[in-house]
């Protein structure tokens, strides 16, 4: 492999992801759910719009998860599939999805950690299927959409960089 593989998701993937996350927020009473890929890019946000810079948040989330993965290995665990950061009023729950994406749940005192964990479990399973199907599509060669989008755009790229 010369570099990391690209992946993409289309509108119907996005709608499906949103439906699962909206259902999860309704059932768990959490405020907001974000999906962040392991390289630190924000994939989706559902629920109350966050009051912080979501791009910076996504990059820190990925770093947090990666650092914890390494800590897990050091103590003899393959990984930590989920993490909890508990604050006085606001808390976060992070869970691995298909080894490529992280589900981040923001919740306050209206929700309990137990309920968030319980409801997140089923949501993560559902999301695992959606993402696995997305990655398989790229792997099968039918969906390397990044190439499609920029194919023949050399002139436009040259123009962009003057």
């Amino acid at each position: 492999m010369s570099g990391a593989a690209s992946w993409s998701f289309n509108e119907s993937d996005y709608r499906q992801i949103q439906q699962y996350l909206q259902g999860f927020l309704r059932d768990s009473n959490a405020r907001c759910a974000l999906l962040v890929d392991r390289t630190g890019q924000l994939v989706a946000t559902v629920g109350e719009p966050p009051q912080f810079d979501p791009t910076a948040f996504a990059s820190l989330t990925a770093a947090d998860f990666s650092a914890n993965d390494q800590l897990a290995k050091m103590i003899g665990e393959p990984d930590f599939a989920s993490l909890v950061h508990q604050g006085e009023k606001e808390s976060m729950y992070l869970a691995d999805v298909a080894k490529r994406v992280i589900l981040v749940v923001l919740f306050d005192q209206r929700a309990t950690l137990g309920l968030v964990k319980l409801k997140a479990k089923a949501t993560v399973e559902a999301l695992n299927h959606v993402f696995q199907a997305m990655f398989d599509r790229v792997g099968a060669g039918g969906g390397d959409d990044t190439k499609g989008i920029l194919h023949g755009a050399e002139d436009e790229i040259d123009k962009l960089f003057g």
């Binding site: 570099g3 890929d37 630190g40 890019q41 994939v43 990059s59 390494q70 990044t146």
Partner: protein, 224 residues
């Protein structure tokens, strides 16, 4: 690992600034942060020690323009240069689309440059990435200092070239930044390729955008 988001019509790419400690990686990002219009960049995040040495990474998202109706968003990261932070350095390379190696031109830092370059090759190969096949640019920083080594020596130590065995790629490719020089050419022992390089004085901003432009363009071209 570039990611394309059809819902928000964005192409996201990850660039990593690598190199020895105190070489100017963070300074590159600070200059970019200071110069680009605030509406085209996000917040700069620095996870640094109390003495301003990078502990984990610096992060800066920048929009470089629109292609085919898609916003091209580049996430710029630096790694901690100090040798003992290798665990965090390796984490940052995950999913990288393009690399800028910021070398410290001072003669005294030659060994640190070589060590860091070797470390980059090692960390990349642990992920299964091949540095000779992804967008990769070298920036020789601190060119204004009196003890800066000649470019020829730096090139020899850090950018000697790699063999190109694929006949389809055995054609001369001129170096866009240096007229008369090539990044792919035939040498005495056959064809070889080299990373394009730029000279810089990052504290003044010289060469910072040239480097960024070159590597970003390279990344987008690999997608086209």
């Amino acid at each position: 690992m570039s990611m394309i988001n059809y819902a928000s019509r964005e192409i996201n790419c990850k660039l990593v600034y690598y190199g020895p400690g105190l070489g100017g990686k963070t300074t590159n990002l600070e200059h970019i942060y200071g110069k680009v219009a605030p509406n085209t960049r996000g917040k700069m995040i620095s996870l640094a020690t109390e003495t301003e040495r990078t502990l984990f990474f610096d992060f800066l998202p920048v929009d470089l323009g629109t292609i085919r109706g898609f916003k091209t968003r580049f996430h710029l990261y630096t790694v901690p240069g100090q040798v003992y932070y290798n665990a965090s350095r390796k984490l940052i390379l995950k999913g990288v689309d393009g690399i800028v190696f910021v070398a410290d031109s001072q003669i005294e830092r030659m060994e640190a440059n070589v060590e860091s370059m070797q470390n980059l090759y090692d960390n990349m190969s642990e992920y299964g990435y091949d540095l000779t096949k992804i967008p990769f640019t070298i920036q020789y920083n601190k060119r204004d200092l009196p003890n800066a080594a000649p470019i020829r020596d730096l090139q020899q130590a850090l950018n000697p070239g790699w063999p190109i065995d694929d006949p389809a790629q055995q054609k001369v490719v001129p170096d866009p930044g240096h007229p008369g020089e090539n990044i792919v050419e035939k040498g005495e022992d056959g064809w070889y390729g080299r990373a394009p390089y730029y000279e810089a004085v990052a504290v003044r901003g010289d060469g910072v955008f040239e480097t960024l432009r070159a590597v970003s363009k390279f990344v987008l071209k690999t997608l086209s």
